[in-house]
Symmetry: C2
Subunit: 243 residues, 2 copies
């Protein structure tokens, strides 16, 4: 539930949660927490009336979202000049097998963000963004990497979108039946799902003596990716993820 | 790589993979395999020039995609009459930490499908679709459930979209550096990620003696969700997932 003492995104026609209002939230903390727990988003945009839905990596700074890609990409060529876009993150948290088809569902956390996407043209801003593209996920990693060269810098575009408004929608109900259906002899369960990190596969061509550094500390095998991302975010920005 | 002996989606301006052509594929088998390994997709659509990106559950029958929701939902009210839509599925398979920021990446499998979304209005077709909404994931489960009632049937809308065209994009490269960068004393790794099923949480109000049935056999704790979904698909339709 939105806390009215907290900063919130304005409720407009485009972001108002229409169905099951109690699942909706508009406060920054709830929206940002969902965003910061993900590395991947889906961006919607329109070219000549045709909607596109492109998965991409992204990150957040305050109320701005960033993503990047090849300067030649369809998405980035068409999202450079203030075109409306919608960036969505969804986490699937559980399968819900109920006693009726109607109440089959999933538990999830989703955030939809609306704004206008603009190419980052200022070279210093772009350089800073490309640093955070790495360091937001792997804190301070860029300092130890081979520096970006002029050709790579030119070949990469960065897009920024101020979140004009947004909504979060969260289902954590698990099984929720019609009251009379609980008396039916039908099996029902909630089955959690998580994005889990596997065993690291170090590059087979590592130089002798080169070890995994503190920049990857959040990423441990068996850990949930969303937890690692929130921890890395807090370290990268020196703040809790949702502010 | 597309196999020219296999049925393929037509290559048009909207679905042609622009960047890194070798990662693109258009054959039904590759596209469908990515779709069938997921329960959740993101659907893009346009209302008054504003793009929306809505996460939702979906399933595939042949070259048709289906999703459903409340008859009152924004998406379903606006995707009823042949409006253009784009339905995308993306699987994040690994984080790739390279020796340069430029070559940081992820391994992934993604499919983008283009078509026109239409409300399923024929009651028999709608009833069959609502059955498969459950049975595609949990084969033959509907037969053992409390039947859908008239009010639920009315409150639910089903949308169908024929895939007019589609593309798959797959990155499985892991670490791919500039050749000279392998000589740098910098740590690099690929770290796999997977959506993993957790321990089932049976409903605490189950009737005595009611057990988990064969309809949930594919869903075992510790198993990757994408594998379970492909197995369930094959059982539900009596065919391999990608045809």
């Amino acid at each position: 539930m939105p806390d009215t003492a907290m900063p919130s995104y304005p409720i407009e026609a485009r972001n108002k949660v229409k169905r099951v209002h109690r699942r909706g939230a508009y406060d920054h903390a709830t929206v940002h927490r969902i965003l910061d727990a993900s590395m991947m988003c889906h961006v919607s945009y329109v070219i000549d009336g045709q909607p596109y839905c492109t998965p991409t990596l992204f990150w957040r700074e305050g109320t701005h979202l960033y993503w990047h890609g090849s300067s030649a990409s369809r998405m980035l060529r068409n999202l450079s000049d203030g075109q409306p876009a919608c960036l969505t993150v969804a986490h699937l948290d559980a399968l819900v097998m109920a006693r009726s088809g109607f109440h089959h569902s999933v538990d999830y956390r989703a955030a939809m963000c609306f704004g206008r996407a603009r190419l980052v043209t200022d070279p210093d801003h772009k350089r800073q963004a490309l640093t955070m593209m790495v360091d937001r996920f792997y804190p301070n990693r860029t300092a130890g990497l081979r520096e970006i060269n002029a050709q790579e810098f030119k070949a990469t575009s960065v897009v920024s979108m101020e979140i004009e408004t947004a909504s979060a929608k969260i289902r954590i109900d698990g099984i929720g039946e019609e009251e009379e259906d609980y008396a039916l002899p039908i099996y029902a369960e909630r089955m959690p799902v998580r994005m889990v990190l596997g065993e690291p596969e170090p590059c087979p061509r590592l130089m002798a003596g080169v070890k995994r550094g503190a920049d990857l500390n959040a990423y441990q095998p068996g850990r949930a990716l969303d937890e690692a991302l929130v921890e890395a975010y807090a370290e990268a920005y020196g703040t809790v993820a949702q502010t």
